[in-house]
Amino acid sequence: MMKRIQTLGFYALVAATALFFVFTESFAGTFGFIIIFGLPYFLMNDLPPYATAAEKIGKYAFLSLCTLIFIFLILPILVIIPLSFNAEPYFSFTEGMMALDPSAYSTRWYEDIVRFGMTAPDGTENWWSDMWNNATWIRAMRNSFWYALCATILATGIGTLAALGLSRPEMPYRSAITSLLISPMIVPLVITATGMFFFYSQKNVFPFFPDGLINRDIGIILAHTTLGVPFVIITVTATLTGFDRSLIRASQGLGASGWTTFTKVIMPLIIPGMISGALFAFITSLDEVVAVIFLADVDQRTIPRQMFSGLREQISPTILAVATILVIMSVLLLTTLELLRRRSERLRGLSPG
């Protein structure tokens, strides 16, 4: 990549960018110009020496197309970050924002996350407990994390057990059972939620819950566990496919008990898969809204449910502020997953990654 910097093409690119800036005097436009024309340039692999001019142009056009697609993928997500600092209550860039005027930016929507719904947002007495118990978004956040945590623990526990069984060579009816266990991911959410809505609203059926499981935490946790299970199955079985079963026999041959074999040999190898499965289950629950719409009451509102009604009723940039926080969270999750994947590959001796 570095040797591209000292070529004629590179100087042409720099000159074109400078010209573009002089004519438009727009920072955002120039930045876009650099991305759209610069990225394909840097992605150009070394074509063979016999490549014709048409092939070179074709390659550049192909890379430009790919650049546009990457922009399509990432731009909507990046755009919400500056928009969430909008001083005006709109979803669009104001003139001041485009001119990078500091007064056009504010953190009021982030304050709004904490203050919206509080009984006395400007009061000083019991401010913290007021926020913790009454602020709408904070309550939604508490609900979301509580459901996600419970659903993740349940889904990871029974999901990992099932994946261990499924990946054994002796497993009977493997494909039928796998299809069943994956199906919560495939069946449209509305159908699952409808079925659960009918099922959970029955009275005098569930032990300890004579009024049914609807409008209760337990109903949502069970629903989210169901929806998270396929992800655990998929990731843990994927880790186990490369698993060398002779390690188990070696451990048994050396006199280890079943439990020791599991904790000392199997667990360390499947732990990356388990964690990424758990992360998937966690994010699925955190992002799930259809089941919440069907099964939850106002008291059980989660962050996505709150966003859903926010987007339907009154669109305020508070949603974008929440969205920005969620994006930052997904970046952290993605990083964790990537590190886990590398560790898993290293442990299984696949590639140094």
Partner: protein, 434 residues
């Protein structure tokens, strides 16, 4: 070890000694192996039992119950138990007999007093109203006065309340409605109905709602799948051919949207596509459109398609990428060196090898698209709604649960067909993320 392998061993031994192989404890080896295999199968199966049981209760049973609800609606026999029995064997000719009328009037008077949910006259009135629009008022009005009818002739008394009771159509409908099992909701879900003589006919073109929406859902999903494929193919190809370091970096651009909340992406598209949004601003800035003629790109079908393509794109890119990564670049070079043109070698050598990835990606995207609810509900406006939105409306708003269940069953059938196809072509074991 399988039984077949053991069998060959055994027959090989037969030449020397005709006795079966015996294990140390005196049991024939074959028996012992069969027992061990059975035990291991059992162990493997037992590991999956907790999850299978959990899903049976929390997933399969609820959906089964929904299927049952789509054909089973006991409103009629709950509200008017005696009348339901009485009219069961009526031959449907002319009007029912005076005895049936008597039972009807008494049941109606009884049901009016009932306060138990699902057993009041209003529930039956709503149920009949699905079949005969306007019947609701007839029922509530007649039920109010039925208590005052104390002696026969009941037929005339009922006719005196409302002339509509003279129409045999209403009695045919009542006979159908008081049966516990009915196909009426499937008929309604496919825009059919019973005519006055009790034959199944298509609803008027003007009133057809569900089939058009179902077709629209299917073709919109197909369109979204096709767009995803067209967009994903070049990107997956690029990612699979770049050096690992660069491609890992660019992969973030695919995985970050994949990991970002659905609601975040949907709100981002609202910010992008609205009339004062970024896309329109750019178009105005570049002079494609004037400031007054900003394009309406959201709260309609266009918005639904764009947002859904963006949301489902990673599900297409990832399977394509994982297949393309395994294709050795030397195949294409070999084709080129033997004189094939770039296009010819792509079509004949490269493309066929990517077909498994295409099958996996398109089927997955199609299956996910056809049941989508959130994005169409938020950015679909009126003409971007899909079948899921109708189902949710029937469950949450109009409370016609049986019709919602019937529509859900139809959608579920379509999805399961494609899931079966996915299983056949791709194999559910090959589902992977990242």
């Amino acid at each position: 070890m399988s039984d077949a392998a053991l069998g060959t061993n055994h027959s090989a031994n037969n030449g020397a000694a005709s006795e079966p192989l015996i294990a140390a404890d005196g049991i024939p080896l074959k028996q012992k192996l069969a027992k061990t295999t059975r035990r291991m199968k059992m162990q493997a199966f037992l590991l999956t039992v907790p999850l299978v049981l959990f899903l049976l209760v929390s997933f399969v049973l609820p959906i089964g119950q929904m299927l049952y609800r789509s054909v089973h609606n006991p409103t009629g026999s709950n509200v008017m138990p005696n009348f339901a029995v009485a009219i069961k064997n009526w031959d449907g000719q002319g009007l029912p007999s005076e005895e049936i009328f008597e039972v009807f009037v008494k049941d109606m008077a009884l049901a009016r007093k009932n306060r138990e949910v699902g057993k009041t006259i209003g529930n039956l009135a709503t149920r009949v109203n699905y079949e005969i629009p306007g019947a609701r008022s007839l029922f509530t009005k007649s039920a109010r006065r039925a208590g005052r009818i104390t002696e026969g002739p009941y037929k005339e008394a009922l006719f005196a309340i409302d002339k509509r009771w003279e129409n045999p159509h209403i009695w045919l409908t009542l006979q159908r409605v008081t049966k516990d099992f009915t196909a009426a909701f499937y008929l309604a879900a496919t825009d059919q109905k019973y005519d006055e003589a009790g034959n199944i006919v298509w609803a008027d073109e003007l009133y057809q709602i569900y089939l058009p929406i179902l077709w629209k859902t299917i073709w919109l999903s197909a369109l979204i799948t096709a767009l995803c494929f067209i967009i994903a193919y070049p990107v997956a190809y690029l990612l699979s051919t770049l050096p690992l370091r660069t491609s890992n970096l660019l992969m973030i651009l695919v995985l970050l949207p994949f990991w970002t909340s659905l609601l975040v992406r949907t709100s981002a598209w609202i910010a992008m596509l609205q009339t004062e949004g970024i896309i329109n601003n750019i178009f105005v800035y570049l002079g494609f459109i004037s400031d007054e003629n900003r394009i309406q790109m959201i709260y309609n079908m266009t918005g639904t398609v764009i947002a859904m393509v963006h949301i489902l794109l990673p599900f297409m890119i990832l399977p394509l990428y994982s297949v393309m990564k395994t294709i050795p670049p030397s195949y294409m070079r070999a084709a080129r060196s033997m004189g094939a043109s770039g296009t010819y070698s792509f079509v004949k050598v490269y493309f066929p090898q990517t077909v498994p990835g295409i099958a996996a990606g398109t089927l997955l995207v199609f299956i996910l698209a056809i049941g989508y609810y959130i994005t169409p509900a938020l950015v679909g406006g009126n003409d971007g709604l899909l079948i899921s939105n109708l189902i949710a409306d029937h469950i949450k708003k109009t409370l016609n649960w049986s019709l919602g269940a019937a529509l859900g069953t139809i959608l579920l059938t379509v999805v399961l067909i494609f899931y079966w196809l996915y299983n056949k072509l791709v194999g559910v074991d090959n589902l992977k993320f990242g």
